[in-house]
């Protein structure tokens, strides 16, 4: 995501990462990897629960179906640096958009949110396809 961040910004978008590790890990990750976008910590899984992100058993964590993707990742040099608290929590990716403005009962101007895209990782080596993410970012507002 970091490597495509400039393209995402050029489309007017932002990236936000939510991890399961504690603040020390988040801070080290953001500094060591020079992450230019916000990195947040979901220590008690409130956000993961609201987003419907799954926690799975060992059979899903080490599923045979994930082996080819895991092998490709290892060959590419990918390594897990700092495992989070909930190692059995799978990843997920969403594209969220501002929705139409509406008047709240107290007279304040409110804005709803729209979910344009979602991907729940099927196993640890699974990730959302970047082309689908960019399709969602590029979608005209009227279609959102």
């Amino acid at each position: 995501m970091r490597d495509r961040y400039a393209e995402i910004q050029a489309l007017g978008g932002e990236v936000v990462v939510i991890g399961t590790g504690d603040l020390r890990y988040a801070r080290a990750f953001a500094e060591d990897e020079r992450i230019p976008f916000p990195v947040l910590v979901d220590d008690d899984a409130r956000a993961a629960d609201a987003a419907g992100v799954e926690r799975v058993g060992l059979s899903r964590l080490f599923a045979l179906s994930s082996l080819p993707a895991t092998a490709r990742a290892l060959r590419s040099g990918y390594r897990i640096g700092r495992p989070g608290k909930r190692v059995n929590q799978l990843g997920a990716t969403f594209v969220v958009s501002p929705g139409p403005r509406r008047n709240a009962p107290d007279g304040e101007d409110e804005r709803s949110s729209l979910l344009l895209f979602r991907h729940y990782d099927a196993h640890p080596a699974d990730h959302a396809p970047m082309n689908a993410i960019f399709d969602a970012l590029r979608r005209p507002q009227a279609e959102a």
Binding site: L40, Q89, V95, A122
Partner: protein
């Protein structure tokens, strides 16, 4: 649960390991505040108030 209008999903409904489609409560998610790497609380809904956001739940940092 089918994707709502305007939503596209890359979920695999035929995945043998995960037949259920998770429930996503975007309204509740928008109200939550989480600390960033510096410890500052950040309200999630503020990120997508004015722009589209790619929101990534990562299993681990790095």
């Amino acid at each position: 649960m089918r994707p709502a209008a305007g939503e596209r999903s890359s979920l695999r409904p035929d995945a043998a390991c995960s037949p259920r489609i998770p429930a996503m409560d975007l309204q509740r998610l928008s109200t939550l505040s989480l600390p960033d790497a510096s410890g500052t609380p950040r309200r999630l809904g503020d990120f997508w108030r004015e722009r589209r956001v790619v929101l990534v739940f990562a299993r681990h940092f790095g």
